[in-house]
Symmetry: C2
Subunit: 110 residues, 2 copies
DNA sequence: ACAGAAGTACGATCGTCGTCAAACTTCGAT
DNA sequence: ATCGAAGTTTGACGACGATCGTACTTCTGT
């Protein structure tokens, strides 16, 4: 039973790249994912997000977010769980996520 | 002498759109323009920026920045001056410009 | 009046990215 | 063992955007 659920590669905080993070966050669907994660208490499975795209497109978006360092992914059964890497993002780019999830920004993205 | 220098349209703070602002800031050349403006004491003419693109491309970038509300443009002779709309951006999206111009972000963009 | 400096406008090109459908894999439950 | 749920992978397609060169406009200085 070769684990399909092998944890996908996650970048280290020291490798976070602003350009890559911004490219990830510029897409409304991905920003919505981040906002929903930020508002949630627990980690969320891919399928539980309120996004209007196909499954394959969703997979693509999660991959972009993961590779940018914005989320951490791990399997629970067949479900892929997603966690916002808040602390690490704050360490690399202080205030960035706050600026996007707080105030008017979040309201409009909602 | 019909003024070619008619001031181009500038959006009001109340019309700033996060999506548009992010789309403007995701481009490295435009982010560099913002960074250079932020680091400068005075307003800067288009031609004085350290960017590696043609004049027509530069014009395009300045237009995108202006329409997003990030800069204010006005003519002085044949030179088009550019001013960062810091206060207004801070009002609309608190912390956003700070996050991009300060700390590691600015260093890497530099 | 003319030449040059500073930008703008207009197409055209070229790459990248978001999107989807279809086929596939993996796990859990029956 | 089988079926369904949850994602992934792999192309393909279409749209948008960054880029450039060329032609054009406007102002300044001489």
């Amino acid at each position: 039973m070769g684990l399909m659920g092998r944890t996908p590669p996650h970048p280290d905080v020291s490798q976070f790249d602003l350009q890559q993070v911004l490219e990830a966050l510029v897409d409304p669907v991905r920003r919505s994912i981040v906002t929903q994660l930020d508002a949630s208490e627990e980690d969320l499975a891919c399928g539980t997000f309120d996004i209007a795209v196909s499954k394959s497109t969703a997979t693509h978006h999660f991959k972009v977010l993961r590779e940018a360092g914005l989320i951490r992914q791990y399997y629970v059964g067949t479900s892929r769980m997603n966690a916002l890497r808040r602390a690490e993002m704050d360490e690399a780019f202080p205030g960035l996520l706050d600026a996007l999830t707080r105030s008017r920004a979040a309201a409009l993205t909602r």
